[in-house]
């Protein structure tokens, strides 16, 4: 099975510190086997739809040997190897990804606030044209009460993390904002994450299976 694997800098497993053998001279990296043969101790990777859950410095296309087991938002096999690095995933794209997710959360907040009649707050968020403007507006609104404050607090926090360069945390917060915007539907979190993954797959030039589009916002 072809899957995707996020690694820390230097093709290093983010949780184990394992240095993956990388492809060289046009050939895949060496196969890596689970230490004790137990599939649940094995090689973890994810499908395109799950990309947003596992962001890290490097993205690799990987091959997992059969049988491949289902994990929690990941797939697991006893053997795996790296095929090639997805070079389009880099710091710049990670930042643009975080920004796109924030704008998507803003758009959802604008729509969500209109329904119960928070038209002033909705218009203030809708009128923000730059990230810094949105940040200031969200901070101001977060001191109010009720739904406007809750949604604005998510937006402000998502931008806080973006400004520190922490896109993974920012995109997580943006996906959590979707739950609040939907009135508490937890399924919106996974749906938003999938939408984020679709955005990513499109920018990475990867063929994403059918899923909903991540926002129609003009920004990046």
């Amino acid at each position: 099975m072809i899957a995707y694997k996020f690694l820390s800098a230097g093709a290093t497993g983010p949780f184990t510190g394992f240095r993956w053998p990388v492809p060289a001279l046009g050939r895949p990296g060496a196969w890596v086997e689970a230490a004790d043969g137990r599939p649940d101790h094995g090689i973890h990777a994810c499908r395109l739809e799950e990309l947003a859950f596992w962001q890290d410095n490097e993205l690799w296309r990987a091959e997992l040997a059969d049988p491949v087991a289902e994990g929690h938002r990941q797939v697991v096999s006893a053997r795996g190897r790296l095929l090639e690095r997805v070079s389009a995933w880099n710091e710049d794209l990670a930042r643009r990804f975080g920004e796109a997710c924030t704008w998507r959360a803003r758009d959802r907040s604008v729509a969500a606030l209109l329904v119960p009649g928070f038209s002033e707050e909705s218009a203030l968020l809708a009128g923000s044209r730059s990230l810094s403007e949105l940040h200031a507006t969200a901070k101001e609104l977060s001191s109010r009460t009720g739904l406007p404050a809750a949604l604005a607090a998510y937006l402000a926090e998502a931008i806080d993390f973006l400004l520190t360069g922490d896109s993974p945390c920012s995109t997580y917060i943006s996906a959590r904002a979707a739950v609040v915007a939907s009135g508490g539907k937890e399924s919106e979190f996974a749906a938003e994450r999938q939408g984020q993954a679709r955005w990513l797959a499109e920018r990475l030039g990867l063929d994403f299976p059918g899923a909903h589009e991540l926002g129609g916002h003009a920004r990046p």
């Binding site: 949780f15 994990g71 993974p168 959590r176």
Partner: protein, 88 residues
């Protein structure tokens, strides 16, 4: 922020760190543990600090203690116990 009910909180992660290092987490819990780390920079720093502490502490033995350190430690523990109202 309210986290996804499927995810671990930072507090839960801290409680599971020892089991993570000792590979005693059930696969589903381990996946949630790692997913939390994928978006929580603070917990990644915490995990790295714990890993480094375990690595450094693992090198220590009684023989490596400088002279007088053992007595200092025993004194400190006794003082701590007294403060808590336990046996001296």
């Amino acid at each position: 922020m309210i986290v996804n009910p499927d995810d671990l909180s930072c507090k839960e992660l801290v409680e599971l760190v020892t089991d993570f290092f000792e590979d005693r987490l059930a696969p589903s819990v381990r996946a949630r543990f790692e997913m939390h780390l994928s978006y929580c920079a603070s917990c990644r720093v915490y995990l790295a600090q714990m890993r480094e502490t375990a690595r450094l502490a693992g090198r220590l033995s009684e023989e490596t203690l400088p002279p007088g350190s053992k007595e200092d430690l025993v004194r400190a523990f006794r003082g701590w116990k007294r403060q808590r109202g336990g046996e001296p």
